[in-house]
């Protein structure tokens, strides 16, 4: 198997806060292949956004820092690069789309100026050629009458339209990897569906890798090839999307899936709250909320990944070598 496009290994990102050191990402590992869609899922505060922003070091640098691990992109460890060398990757090779489209555009400039600026930052085009390119891009992301709207200011665009512009800006550098951090969360469901379809089309066209952050398992089912489940800064389970939805292994993933309407009991929730990020529990991060926790879960480190299926791993002691054969879980509820 060739090297993946992006390979994150044992990534650790910490923030210095008044309450203490927050280990937002505490040893996360995952891969994204070229042309593949990987969904990073987890509750709020599970570290998925920080993990994404750590890839090109977009975390606030005055309080946050990457303290360990490596981010190997196309053979280069990005954590080793200097700040100015990283800017060569940002936008050019790895593009970001953020959650809130309202703030992502600068109200001081027209939409066109912002797209043109990015096009020219990445390609050697003169002003009029860059403008043509910008109109093409806006057209591609589904802005109606792109040639007319290009001179409008962002405040005259709706949220969905702004997110399309943001996407156009992200695509301007023709990136190999697009990191989309909950790009549809702030949008209503019809617009959300349109944007997701658009993302899928563009990904097929360009063959880029897509790392998609969401807490919406419905979205995951729709677009993902592979899923990475994060909890409290750790990766709990990774797997191919059908496999993971059909045979969730980790108790956390099961609990998460049971929260979906139509699964489990009506309005199932996971009892308890996510652990204090400055003082996470020993052993498995999830054990205080886990119905299946055993003594081994409560001490030491997060259990190592154990294979639970084809290209499907879970960080749970119940699947480890010491517990052969795996404890039986209650059967997954049928729809």
């Amino acid at each position: 198997m060739s090297d993946p496009l992006l390979s994150v290994r044992d990534l650790r990102t910490e923030f210095d806060t008044d309450a203490g050191v927050v280990r937002a990402v505490d040893g996360a590992s995952f891969d994204v292949e070229a042309g593949e869609t990987v969904c990073l899922v987890g509750e709020s505060g599970s570290g998925k956004t920080v993990a994404c922003e750590s890839i090109t070091r977009l975390i606030p640098t005055d309080s946050g820092s990457i303290t360990g691990g490596e981010v190997r992109f196309d053979g280069t460890d990005l954590t080793e690069l200097s700040g100015s060398a990283l800017t060569e990757y940002r936008g050019n090779r790895i593009a970001h789309v953020f959650q809130n489209p309202q703030g992502a555009l600068d109200d001081v400039y027209t939409v066109g100026e912002q797209v043109v600026e990015t096009v020219r930052a990445h390609r050697d085009l003169d002003r009029s050629a860059a403008r043509e390119e910008a109109i093409d891009l806006l057209d591609r992301v589904g802005i109606p009458d792109a040639a007319d709207r290009i001179d409008d200011y962002p405040h005259s665009f709706s949220g969905g339209m702004k997110q399309r512009v943001v996407l156009a800006i992200a695509l301007a550098g023709d990136p190999d990897l697009l990191i989309a951090d909950e790009p549809t969360t702030a949008l209503d469901v019809t617009i959300q569906a349109q944007i997701l379809r658009l993302l899928g089309e563009i990904q097929d066209e360009r063959g880029m890798g897509l790392l998609f952050v969401t807490h919406d398992l419905g979205v995951v089912a729709e677009i993902a090839d592979r899923v990475v489940v994060m909890y409290a800064g750790k990766v709990m389970e990774t797997g191919e999307v059908y496999e993971l939805f059909e045979n969730p292994a980790h108790p956390y993933t099961r609990a998460l899936l049971d929260c979906l309407p139509g699964h489990g009991q009506a309005f199932d929730t996971i009892d308890g709250t996510t652990p204090d990020p400055t003082d996470p529990p020993d052993g498995c991060r999830f054990h205080p909320r886990c119905d299946h926790a055993v003594e081994d879960c409560r001490a030491g480190e997060q259990p190592a990944f154990a294979p639970v299926g084809d290209d499907h791993d879970a960080a749970c002691v119940l699947y480890g070598d010491d517990h052969q054969p795996p404890l039986s879980f209650p059967e997954k509820h049928d729809d």
Partner: protein, 404 residues
């Protein structure tokens, strides 16, 4: 900030690539440099070849304070007027928004007229001859003053029943040295311009750069810069200027500007702290804004983000803060000139008022025209600045969005 190490040759190459794109000098930057070079050449010419009356048509011997004014004008043109001219569509929108502030528009126009008068007036309209003492205390046109009991009084106009009537030769009358008040006002505006524009440009440039750096980088950069500002704020510019004036100005041969150069230096270098503070807090807010994060994610360098995102978005703050400062500076200079703190008098309105209030020849209320017009002009200019600053801020603020 991320460490800047250049370990392997490969990274250095990548770095060069970035720099190649980053350093493309923009045309407007070239224009600014060109303007400064031209000014430098003029200065050399003035210093070496033609020491008197550089601009003969305007009868204008350019002094040190005038050079400062010229440099400041270039800055003002580059960062104030050029953006307006470069994007007519945006300028039209700005004017459209200003139309809903008719008072502000009027104030702006008045200031533009005052600026033109201050720049061109002294050369265009008056022969700077010597004041004619025999024509002292002429009343303004259509006014009269009782002069029967003043010895050696020459009335330019007609005298009826002991009252001297004003003439068009001195439309606003003269003071007790025979200087025309209208002429004094025009020179007063020039002085106000020489004082305020360079000082405000200096304050604006230093304050914006320091504030934006402190707010954007945060951490120790912020600490160092802002603690320095704290220290600097404890030094009142006016006291420093008074000390300088007491010890140096007037003694130093060749100081012909009435301490204007020193004023610009002292007030410009000591007064930018407030601007730095407000720009810093603006930058601090913007640092986590979506468009700054997005710019970073597309590979924009810090310099580019500061120049194209942080500062343009803070322009409303900067314009308000600076327009608030101009009248304060003008008033400070007028106050200092009123106190006669440099022995070589400038043509400041402060001196005009001081001379007018001295009880010689006539009590001040009988020669009211000497002071009243100057005070009215000052009050009008200060009010115009405050009103136009507010309206400009509203018109420039795109963050309010929908209003346009």
């Amino acid at each position: 900030m991320p460490s800047k190490d250049f370990e392997s040759a490969a990274f250095t190459e990548v770095d060069w690539d970035v720099r190649d794109r980053g350093i493309t000098v923009r045309k407007r930057t070239l224009g600014l440099l060109g303007a400064f070079l031209a000014l430098g050449a003029l200065y050399a010419y003035d210093a070496i070849v033609a020491p008197e009356e550089l601009v003969a048509a305007l009868n204008w011997d350019v002094t040190r304070a005038d050079w400062l004014l010229l440099v400041a004008s270039v800055f003002f043109a580059r960062y104030g007027l050029f953006p307006l001219a470069a994007d007519p569509a945006r300028t039209r929108r700005l004017l459209g928004r200003l139309r809903s502030h008719p008072l502000g528009l009027f104030a702006l126009l008045s200031l533009a007229v005052l600026t033109a008068v201050g720049l061109l007036g002294p050369g265009l309209f008056f022969d700077t001859g010597y004041p004619k003492l025999k024509y002292r205390l002429q009343p303004p046109v259509y006014a009269s003053v009782f002069v029967e009991d003043i010895h050696y009084y020459n009335c330019v106009g007609q005298v009826t029943d002991g009252y001297c009537h004003g003439t068009w030769r001195y439309p606003l009358g003269t003071n007790r040295y025979g200087e025309g008040v209208l002429e004094l006002l025009v020179y007063g505006v020039r002085v106000a311009l020489q004082v305020s524009l360079p000082t405000v440009v200096l304050i604006g440039v230093v304050g914006t750069v320091v504030g934006a750096l402190a707010g954007y980088y945060g951490g120790w950069v912020d600490d160092v810069l802002m603690r320095y500002v704290d220290i600097q704020q404890t030094v009142p510019a006016i006291v420093v200027y008074i000390l300088l004036a007491t010890f140096f100005l007037g003694e130093y041969s060749g100081v012909t500007d009435g301490g204007l150069f020193a004023f610009v230096g002292v007030f410009g270098l000591l007064n930018w702290g407030g601007v730095a503070r407000v720009v810093r807090s603006d930058a601090l807010q913007q640092r986590s804004a979506g468009y700054v994060r997005a710019a970073r994610a597309t590979g924009a360098s810090d310099l580019r983000i500061l120049r194209d995102r942080i500062v343009p978005n803070a322009r409303g703050t900067i314009v308000t803060e600076l327009s608030r400062r101009v009248p304060l500076l003008v008033l400070a200079q007028v106050a200092l000139a009123y106190l006669s703190l440099s022995r070589i008098a400038s043509q400041s309105l402060g001196r005009v008022i001081r001379v007018g209030l001295q009880p010689e020849v006539l009590p001040w209320h009988q020669k009211w025209w000497v002071t009243t017009f100057a005070v009215a002009l000052l009050a009008f200019a200060v009010a115009a600045f405050n009103v136009s600053g507010d309206s400009l801020r509203d018109a420039l603020d795109t963050r309010q969005g929908g209003s346009s």
